[in-house]
Amino acid sequence: MRIIVKAFATLREIFGGTGILYLELPEGSTIKDLLEKLREQYGSNLDVSGFVDENPSVKILVNGREITYLDGLGTRLRDGDSIAFIPPVAGG
């Protein structure tokens, strides 16, 4: 299945370009699987940005709904899903 990942703020810079990734994942993949795949690809840069598993300060949305109100990191993804990673920002 194919999903769209949209990164915000500091994460956008780590993913590069527009911060939008199109990824192929096996059927039945979860948010946790997606995080592992991203970590393989972007390595420690993700951790530097504070983007680590279960960091409650980074909001993860699936089709606009936060995963806290779905099944958390176990939320199953479907073909065409749009996932947003939204870290906190402090500029003013």
Binding site: F8, A9, T10, R12, T18, V48, S49, G50, N55, P56, S57, K59, L61, G64, E66, Y69, A84, I86, P87, P88, V89, A90, G91, G92
Partner: protein
């Protein structure tokens, strides 16, 4: 430093002059907004923490809306690299203390109001005193550390806080009413790393600062529905808007012990 303009009449907080009725004519025409709403703004005391990109927009709109007393605090001086977004300042202001330039500009914009300028940094030591005699605070800061100091004091003193922040072409907004909804530590439980000299497209702090002013006006007058427990996220790159629910964290070190207001 408090300077009162000749037009300022603090004693007349129970009525509006003919000039005020004309100055605020367009907002007085708004459905649900009447003379009593305007008097609530006139009697209100608001703290704006930071007069950079967010604070420029928020302060200009709050001054023009007729907030009776504005206290602005910032220890910065106007720099050339501020001017892509900090619309309170002109090129001729380079090197001058921001709060002094800002206070002058705000008094010129609206001589009916009182503006107090504090050229210092908000710290754990001074925050409670600075907050003690205001009704509401507007977070126009540029770092997490000071935001948490402000949040914790607002929660402790029960003062509403309008949170705004930006990065690049993105903005965030949430209205915090202690006891009624989540606070900044519920939203951001783990303190993130600080970033110096972040990228900013000028209109973004303008948009978020203006929305912070709007939220402050709503909280003070009771108009509409403030974004309590709702994080607003704006991505200027594709103009997408998100509104996500944020819940109180029962274990929050700042607001976890406050009782929930009966709803």
């Amino acid at each position: 430093m408090v300077t009162r303009s000749p037009l300022y009449h603090r004693s007349q907080v129970d009525k509006l002059s003919l000039e005020e009725l004309e100055r605020y004519d367009r907002q007085l025409r708004l459905l649900g907004f009447d003379v009593e709403s305007q008097l609530k703004l006139k009697r209100s005391r608001v703290l704006i923490v930071g007069v950079g990109g967010l604070g420029s927009a928020a302060a200009l709109y709050l001054a023009s809306a007729g907030i009776g007393f504005l206290r602005i605090i910032d220890d910065g001086y106007v720099e050339l690299s501020n001017l892509n977004r900090q619309i309170l300042y002109n090129t001729g202001d380079l090197g001058r203390r921001k709060v002094e330039v800002a206070a002058k500009r705000l008094r010129e914009l609206n001589p009916e109001i009182e503006v107090e300028a504090l050229g210092e940094r908000l710290t754990e030591e001074n925050v409670k005193q600075i907050l003690s005699d205001v009704d509401l605070a507007v977070d126009c800061l540029d770092n997490f550390r000071a935001r948490f100091i402000l949040n914790d004091a607002c929660v402790e003193l029960g003062k509403p806080l309008i949170h705004g922040a930006i990065y690049g072409a993105e903005g965030r907004l949430m209205t915090i009413i202690p006891g009624r909804g989540p606070c900044l530590r519920c939203l951001i439980p783990r303190e993130p790393a600080e970033h110096d000299k972040i990228p900013v497209l000028g209109p973004l702090p303008g948009v978020i600062g203006a929305l912070e002013a709007l939220e402050a006006i709503k909280v003070i007058t009771g108009l509409g529905e403030p974004a309590v427990g709702k994080l607003i996220i704006i991505d200027g790159m594709d103009l997408s808007f998100y509104r996500i629910e944020v819940r109180r964290n029962p274990g929050c070190p700042a607001c976890g012990k406050i009782k929930i207001e009966g709803i």
